[in-house]
Every structure is written in C-alpha cells, then in structure tokens.
C-alpha cells in the first residue's frame, strides 16, 4: 500500500530550524517532507499524510517521542527513525522498544541521514514472489504476510525483513553484524542493540512462548538463527 507513494517523510520535531533544514536536505534528495512540531498533533498528522517514513525527535513538547512512537506503531508498521541527542544506553533502548526501527544520533551528517532513510525505504522496492516456512510459520514474502495455522500475524516491515532474512537461510547462524548489514543496511559495525531489541520484539509476536523461543533461536556467543522447521 505504501509502496505506491515513495519518499513521503513526516518530520516530527519541535525545533523549527532543524525541521526546516531537514526539509531542505530531504527535498534535495527527492523526498517529500511534511512537518509537525507537537507531539500531541503528531498522530493526527500521521493519519492525514500517510507517510512512508517517520523521522521522530525523542524530545517533544506535549507527548514525548517515545509515546508518539508507541501510538504510531500501534496502528501502522511504517518505518520510524528516531532522532536522538542521547546515545546513552537507556534512551536508545527505550526508543527501540517502543517500536522505532532505527535511530540516528545528533549531530548527524545529511548523507548519513539520507542513507538511513533510503535503507528503510529500500525494502519496498524489491518484491519477490516467494514462500518460506520456519517452524510452524508460513511466510509469503511477496504478499508480506506471516501466518500460523491460517491466522496472520501482524509484523512491521522491519520485523518482517528480519524474519525473512533468518528464514531464507535456516541453516546459517547470523551474527548481529551480518543482520545489521542485511536488514538495516549498515555497512560498518553499528549498535548491536538494534538487533537485540528487534529480535525481542519479533519474538514477542511470533513465538508461542517468548521465554523459550523456537522460531528465532539464540546461538550463544555468535548470534541468531531460524529455528528448526
């Protein structure tokens, strides 16, 4: 649905100068930015503009970024990239746990930002008719759906990508670095917390017992692999 309208980015930031600058850069890269400065109005703006991606500042007047992130994630799987001034462990993890797909720490370079946005949007550009099974899950890659016993499970695009990456090569153990490159599009080593948090989120949706995962299995000291199918 979103793949028809590429490049619409909703910027949620209270700093007008930064928002304007973001607008300049995004327009320069061919995106179509829209802006909202207030956390309370963010959700309405989101519903109205139906963006392909949300750039979300964590510190906002009204509702804070974490809350906004949670609300948006509650009704949509649209990619959310957090803008944060805090790279401290807790803030980032809280942001990721509230549903953000990725984060970028201020101050960032325009190219870095654009690369992240493109990496998040890239997924919808490559449809491939393919059916995968992992455990008792059936994954329709082109149809972007995951079903267990005919019941579909709602996943965000990122979680879907993560699951598909694992399911395509069930024999392989993926290190966090490899997953960061394949799913998030990072060339160089980045924050492995991204992987940890999203694996947890994915498990909470697809596992029968998230405490004892059978679909996404941890390989101690190495990384993750798809469970036996």
């Amino acid at each position: 649905m979103m793949s028809f309208m590429k490049g619409r980015v909703l910027v949620v930031d209270d700093d007008t100068a930064l928002a304007e600058m973001l607008g300049i850069v995004l327009r320069g890269e061919g995106f179509e930015p829209s802006f909202v400065a207030d956390g309370d109005k963010a959700l309405a703006a989101f519903r109205e503009t139906k963006p392909d991606l949300v750039l979300l500042d964590l510190m906002l007047p009204g509702r804070d970024g974490i809350e906004v992130c949670r609300l948006i994630r509650a009704e949509s799987g649209v990619p959310i990239v957090m803008l944060t001034a805090k790279s401290d462990t807790v803030d980032v993890v809280v942001g990721l746990e509230s549903g953000a797909d990725d984060y970028i720490v201020k101050p960032f370079k325009p190219k870095e930002l654009v690369a992240r946005i493109r990496a998040r949007l890239r997924r919808s550009e490559e449809p491939a008719p393919e059916q995968l099974t992992i455990g008792d899950l059936v994954i329709d890659v082109a149809g972007h759906s995951v079903k267990r016993d005919g019941q579909s499970i709602a996943l965000t695009p990122l979680e879907f990508d993560l699951l598909v990456a694992l399911a395509r090569k069930p024999w392989q153990v993926f290190t966090r670095e490899v997953l960061l490159e394949q799913v998030w599009g990072y060339r160089h080593a980045a924050d492995t917390r991204l992987v940890n948090v999203h694996v947890q989120r994915l498990r909470s949706k697809v596992e029968k017992d998230p405490e004892r995962p059978e679909i996404v299995v941890t390989v101690r000291g190495v990384g993750y692999k798809a469970g036996p199918s």
Partner: protein, 703 residues
Amino acid sequence: MSGDSAASASGGPGTRPGRPVGRAAAGARFRRLFEGGLLQGGVQGSPVLRLFLRWVRRPLLPVMRLWRRNIQLRVVATTLLMSLGVVLLLGFVVIGQVRNGLLDAKVKASQSQATGGFAVAKQKADEAASGTGAGGGAGTGDGAATADGRQSQNVIQWMSDLVESLSSGGAGAFDVVTLPVGDDSGGGRSPRGSGNVNPTSSVPVDLRERVNSGTTAVQSNTRIVYFGGKESQPGLVIGKQVNDPNGRPYELYYLFPLTQEEKSLSLVKGTLATAGLFVVVLLGAIAWLVVRQVVTPVRMAAGIAERLSAGRLQERMKVTGEDDIARLGEAFNKMAQNLQVKIQQMEDLSRMQRRFVSDVSHELRTPLTTVRMAADVIHEAREDFDPVTARSAELLADQLDRFESLLADLLEISRFDAGAAALEAEPIDLREVVRRVVSGAEPLAERKGTHIRVIGDQQPVVAEADARRVERVLRNLVVNAVEHGEGKDVVVRLASAGGAVAVAVRDYGVGLKPGEATRVFSRFWRADPARARTTGGTGLGLSIALEDARLHGGWLQAWGEPGGGSQFRLTLPRTADEPLRGSPIPLEPKDSRRNRGLDAAGLPRGAEEKRATVPVQQPGAQAPTLPPRAPIAPRLSATAPAADPAALPGNGNGARVVPRPTGGARRPGDGPAGRPAPDARQGRPDAAAPEDTTEPGEAFRGR
C-alpha cells in the same frame, strides 16, 4: 623500565622450562614474602624451626582467632584468671590466720601441761632418789642402794609408774613417752609410751637430738603413731631431758594430738574453697553479663556500620536510656544521618550533573545538527562560490567536525566523571579490534608515510572487554603514534599471558621528555603547544582512553624517551572481575635507547636474559624481517612478542607478579641451555635503578 627490571625475576622460572623446581622455589620466595607480612610473628630462622612452629601453631589458629576477635571471651577469661588469683591469695592468708589462732592456744596449753609434767617427773625422781618415796618407793630405795640389778629393776618399775601416773592426768588429751638417751637401752630403759603410742616412731629424730643437746624443753610437730592399727594423727610433741632416780638422764616427751584442730582447719579450708569457687564462677558470670551489656550494643553498632557501608543508609541503632551506650548510639545515628544526607546530596548532585550533561547534550546537539547540515549543504555547493567564500565553506565544515568531536569527547568525559559510564563487556578477540583500528588509520598513515606493523596476531588474544571502548582506546593510540611518529614505523604488538592481555603501540618519533609519561593523560595536555596540529585532536583522547582502561579494571601506561619514540601499553584483565597483576608486554620496549646502550656496553641486562629465556608465544611470530625503511629499529628483528609474565606495571613495588605458564609453546632450546637463572635480586639493581631516577619517562598506572 620496571617491566624490564622485573623481567629478570621471571627469567628464572622461564629459563628452565624443564625444571619446575626453579619456579617452585621462586614461588615459595614470593609466598614467603607475602606471608611474612600477613602472619605476624613470621619467624625468621631455619626452615625446620619455622615448619615446626607453623605445625604447632596451626591447630591453635582458630582459638587464637577467636581470642583476637571476641572481646567478651577475653574479658571473661581475664576476669576468671584474676579473680582466681585473688581468691587463692585470700584463701591462703585466711587459712594461715585460722591455723595460727587455733594452734597458738593449743601450744600454750600443751606447754604449761608439759612443764608441769616435767616438774612432776623431776620431783618424783628426786623423791625416789632420796628414799622418801611413798609406798613401794621405800622398798625399792633400799634395793637400789644395795644391788645394781635390783636397782635397775626398780627404775623400770619406776618409769612405768611414772608414765602411768603422768598420762593418767591427760585421759586421751595427751600421751607420755619416755626414751633412753642415745643407745643406752640396756638396764630396762627401753622406750615406753602410754595409750598404745609407738614411742620411737612418734618422736622425730631431730627433736631427740635437740632434746639431748640441752636441758630445756623443746617442741615440734609430728605424727603420732599408734600400735594396734589405730590410725596415726597429727600432733604436737614437747620433750625434755630428765634424770631418773639414779641420776641418769632419759627423754620425756608429751604428745598432744591435734586432731580437733586439724578437723576445724580442714572445715575452714573446705568452706573457703567452696566459697572461692563460687566467687570465681559468679565473678566470671558477672563479667560475662556486664561485658555483654557493653558488647552487645557495640556489636550491634558494628553490624549496623557494616550494613551502612554496604549502602543501606537507612539503618539506625536502637537507643534506650541515657547511658554511655545510648550516647554512642545517638552519636552513631547522628553520624549515619549526616552520612545519609551527604550521600543523598552527592547522589542528587551526581544525578543533576548527569541530567545537566544530558540536557546540555540535547540542547547543544540540536542546533549543532542544523548548523552541521547547513554547512554540509553549503560545502556541497562551494564550487559555485567565489574562492574566498568557497574556502570559508571548507573551513566551516572542517571546524564543525572538530567542534563535534570536541563536544562528543567532553560529554564522554563528563559521563565518566558522573560515574555514568557502563561497561558492556563480552569476550572479544583483540586482533579483530586491532585490525579494524589499523585499517582505519591506514589513510592517515599513508599520508604520513608511516607503515603500521602488527606483531603477535597469530593466536587469538581474547579478553572480556567492551569492544567499542577498546577500539576507541586503540584508535587513539595508533592515530597518536602515527601522528607523532614522524613518518617512521609504528609497531602494534599483542600478547596475552597469565590473566592479562596487552596491546602496545610503539612509535619512533619525538618521544616523551622525562615526566611527560604521566602528563600525557591529563586533559587538554599537549606535548608542545607550539607544534602544529595536523589532525586537530581534542586533547581529551588519552584522558578518555585512560578512563576506558580504568573502567575495564585495566591499565593504560606510557613510556617514552626524548627522540627515541614512545610506547603506550594497554593491559586488560582477561576476565572482567579478575584483578590485574602484570602485563604480558614490558612497558619499556627492548629497543629503547637504554636497553640498547646496556647491550652495547656488554652489561648483564634483565631484558637480555629475558629475551633468551622467556617463553615465546609464537616461534613463528618473531623475526619479522624489517622493511628497509625502518633504520631506527635495528634490534626489532630480534625481539619477539614474548610473553613476559612478570612485566610489572609502573611502580615495580606495586603489584607482585607470580609468573604463570603461558600454556603456549615454550622453547626449551632457546637461550644458553642450563645456564642458571639469574636470581631475582641479581637482576634487580640495574633494572630497578632507572625506575627511581625516572630517567627516560615514567610509567603511569591506570588504577
């Protein structure tokens, strides 16, 4: 410096891999040094004596510990001992007094009795002698005058009568004994006594001597022995030499049994002993109770103090009454209260500080992001500008980079200062990190014409560490080395031994002046303020690196000599909770000017020994043929990435290192075989001396 110095010590064990004895001896030496300090009264002397004393002391140790630790036990035991002493003393005095009182009366009565008896005996003898004796006395008197046999018969009779009559007055209160003087037992003058008394054995010999040596009455204590199975009993004997009717002397003794007195005395003794025992026990119990009253609050205070120091700041003592203990409790509680308030304040401050840093971070970063983006946009478009504006755009972008890194470093430092830095340690292979760092520094090295070489990366060098932080430290060290290396080689050396891993970064640039080795870690310190900054470091890099090392429980140390380059060494414990005891790499490199100078002079050198002897981790790793453009390091080819388990941190007397086998391949054939390992002390002087003079640079200890 110190590294080398200590190395010779380890050279001992290392030299002879086939002889664990050497290592054991060295180990024992170390242990003795340790224990000498630990056990007070560590005995100097022959080992046999020491062993014996230790063997004797061992079973007593728990008791001694209890004695040392338990004040209650000590007080009660002391009270018991002292009151026992007092009671014993008192008992002896009292018994002595009672005995004297009882006996004095008896002795006086006995003496007057005896004196009377002696007078009677004398009078009777006189009467018999003069023939005016009453009754049978007249008859015998005639006989005595005529025939000698008859006379003695009379004396025998007379004596028996005398004993009979003298003792008849006593009726059990005393007995009378006569004994002949000397051996003169003939003529019927045999010993005789009243009331079944055994005359000879009841009278002590020395008393008889005294009686015979004078004519006065003498007395003595004795045991009165009876014939016929009657038990002997203590008594007083008073004797005197008296003449019989014939004028011949004999010994007359009065024996007074002291049974009654003895009974009274033993009754007193028994009473006193019982009372004394009760007193001692009761005093002990009282002491125990009293001490308990004092000790219990003290113990409570100690327990609460321990809990306080463990962080439970709300703990307080219970205060009852107004006595000293209560005052102690109040003072203690006040102290705890103040502590809690202060700590609370500190925590609040720290939280505020962290909060402030976080806020500043956000407040600064948002506008900086805008500026940064704007600058980048301008920078991208600089080709359309006139040269001046274009150059300005470049400067703007460059300086923004610098500003950004400065801000990031400042925030990082303040995070350390606020204690907010957290270690995310997991087992990592340092070779990976080094590889990343070196490849990251390659572009800069190429610009500088420097070649970065890595030694010791044939085996995994694994440690529990925070990869991000270690990488930051090493990046800093390598970039610094390249920057200050003046185009000469930079050598990154890895090693692991014992419980530690180390990475040393060596350059051959300007080096460090004496004293600078510690100052390089100071914030915003610059080696030479006049020197041009080519890459524009923030001046905080090494400070952050040092904090990172500390966070790992590791060391970051520097060595350098003016003109001879420098070496920075990062040592990390292999597991996060293990304390560091040494570093696998000596801080002062073997190709330092001093070491080379020592070599040239042919002096015995710790490092020389070590190189020949220390277990080499990687036989294949050594002797990397030098590229021709590294003339500064002629000895480098000889140096191997030797694991030097005894390479000490900065101050040699800090940590003591017990060498451990590296588990890797030792090379028994290396070095002069069978050469005795240099004793630790022998290697010391030349090696330790520069430590004190701090000549080329000094180590800095991370913690």
